[in-house]
Point group: C2
Chain length 470, copies 2
Amino acid sequence: MVRRNYIFDTIREVFLRFGYQPIETPAMENLSTLLGKYGEEGDKLLFRILNSGDYLKNVTEAQGHKGTEAQGHKGTEDASPQSPVTSHQLAPLPLVPRSSSFDLNQFTQQISEKGLRYDLTVPLARFVVQHQHELTFPFKRYQIQPVWRADRPQKGRYREFYQCDVDVIGTNSLLCEVELIQIIDEIFSRLNLPVVIRVNNRKILTGIAETIGASEKLTDITLAIDKLDKIGLQQVNEELAVRGLSAESIERLQPVLTLEGKIKEKKGFLEQLLVGSETGIRGLEELCHVLKYLKSLEVRNKFEFDVRLARGLNYYTGIIIEVMASGLSIGSLCGGGRYDDLTGIFGLPGLFATGVSFGADRIYDVMMALKLFPDTIRSTTRVLFVNFGEEEERFSMQVLKKIREAGIPAEIYPEPVKLKKQLDYANRKEVQYVVLAGKEEILSGKVTLKNMKTGEQQTVLTDKLTKYII
Amino acid sequence: MVRRNYIFDTIREVFLRFGYQPIETPAMENLSTLLGKYGEEGDKLLFRILNSGDYLKNVTEAQGHKGTEAQGHKGTEDASPQSPVTSHQLAPLPLVPRSSSFDLNQFTQQISEKGLRYDLTVPLARFVVQHQHELTFPFKRYQIQPVWRADRPQKGRYREFYQCDVDVIGTNSLLCEVELIQIIDEIFSRLNLPVVIRVNNRKILTGIAETIGASEKLTDITLAIDKLDKIGLQQVNEELAVRGLSAESIERLQPVLTLEGKIKEKKGFLEQLLVGSETGIRGLEELCHVLKYLKSLEVRNKFEFDVRLARGLNYYTGIIIEVMASGLSIGSLCGGGRYDDLTGIFGLPGLFATGVSFGADRIYDVMMALKLFPDTIRSTTRVLFVNFGEEEERFSMQVLKKIREAGIPAEIYPEPVKLKKQLDYANRKEVQYVVLAGKEEILSGKVTLKNMKTGEQQTVLTDKLTKYII
């Protein structure tokens, strides 16, 4: 937790430094807000809250008879031989055996109206629509809160984990993208974690699809090329064929799939390729504008313009950003981009939005693996006073008060037990200094300060103690 | 949120200063951990999570037939005329109409195994038992997380709210109580919110019950006298009689109910009253020890020794603490005490524990009412750069970078819209300073700095800008 707080504090401080305001939203959202936003798989991973009180009260007999697409039973098929119940019965339970027309989805809807948030973006959209008349636009907000997913727990995947999101709503200025990448650069620099910031633009992908004569196959193309690193060129080409791309389109896509080189070279290549696509050229211009800007601002981490970067394409509308740990293949530490119809699904279309999300848990894992956490944050207590008994304790409590006032986290062992036990406690808590203030020391106005790391001991004036504790 | 963070940050900083480590526990706990810990009413207020996947799969026909004490139906009464279903049917739903032997509680248990945490104390107990072999005792932890209660939402009562708990596990040293009250004093002093710290000792209450010959009526006595402020002396006495206290006991209790005066006077009175009760005298000694200690440590807020303070008596075993806003009757801002069998319910008896919990939402309400939040925390952005167009923007972004490096939260309006709109934005976000850097200013190496509060404008050297932003 101490280490995780170090990550959160770093992220929060940088967000604030760039003028983003904190918001928090409730853990529970209406299921009507959440359902259908994360695909079919996402719907299954939502944690649902059972309605309070007698949640079966409003379950109607009708449930199970309307039939959803999933089960598709018709209302006329209801009468199973095992459930001779009329539909006029009061407060009935689902009396139809499940093998018949019972519809689990519909039953679930009737007993559960709320779910735990699955990410921070949909709650943000709901929040912005709900408070649109009170908010100041462009609305710059950050949000650091847990989200929940009913995944099978496994290493690196938790049922509850934190997301750290930062977004600007209400402007299509590319300055936002510039700042978001500055934020990314600043955060990972502060964490001492070298990263590669990969960028692309959805408009370039659109342009490529246009250029190779496969506009309507944009999703298929990106889904296939997203797998390039995993399955290799040949299999990607096979998949493209299966997905219905013509041999000619696949042929014309080859230079894109194998595109390597410096940003300048890629730019040159794409300028030629996209010459017939207005959208594609605009995408390339946007990207180059942002990259040039960032160069002038002396961003410290490396850039990579990867024309194959898509990150769930249907969502993004402009620049796409993904951050990887430099030299490690562990998945992205941060990602995002422009998604210019955030609030459309909630009835407020046309609100520009761009943002990125930091995966605190994965950042934590990488920092642990690379031993990047500074020693100084490992312990919450800098100084432990040994407890020698009532009289010494009273004396120590007075000194302790001054040390804490000087901003140093400090404590005294609460009982006068054996010295060894108290030193063990200090070691296990990784306390840096131990103060020994026995009767003699008190009389002489001095205490013994022991550095637990080096083992060094020195006698120092009680009044000067804080100066020795670095 | 900015204001709430101010409260959280203050609380967190003081907790850390006293050597407490942060922990967090998952939002979801097993219902078996939560149920029965908060009384019957509490059980009803738990939010339950529907099991994932086909949650009806494991609902057995047997459910509803075992009968709980609430409904009490016997297993032999299952065959309602409307449900001629054999118990051998696979994956059945609850086919028995609810008017018959259906048991909602049991059904709920089968479709929901997890619930949202209701407080931070029960999860702490579960955590300590689970990690008892890894933890360093005395275990000093703090925890600041939301809890959930299915209350009807109303003013001052939320379904999701934060608790800020600080506890020491594994020592019965009274030093813990001294430090907890130091922590309370420090937090409310930093928040500039004057409070009265009320204290009592459960042992004194036990002693009083012994002394008046009503040991077995301890709960009744405290429940009744807890209402003294609300219903007055006469009605308390009536309630005591209804609760079965003898006229003599009630008579002997009167001096306690009307006890007023300075701490010294109360102490003198109780020393006499409790002379026959070892427990009572010990309780009084403990309390006096703590109060004397605190006096020597120059605690700034006022104390009140209130022999009627109980705070859900059955829970506490020693000193009881409650903090009220000075001069306001708004309920307690913080409360707690010693509860020396925290982990007994989870099979680890005899672990000493003491702690207090801060109600951040109520503290927030009081601070808003008394206008105690400092002006400086109202805005997250200290400086806004006006955006005059591409060239000026590039210049501003360079200056902005330096200002942020100096630790000042700053931003630039992302689009070169009309000046009025940008100044409106600054005003709505309560930004203190606006920087105007037009073409002329850039050439002269100076910018215009406008104080949005006073309206004052001055021209300052760009290099010296940070010095003017206080």
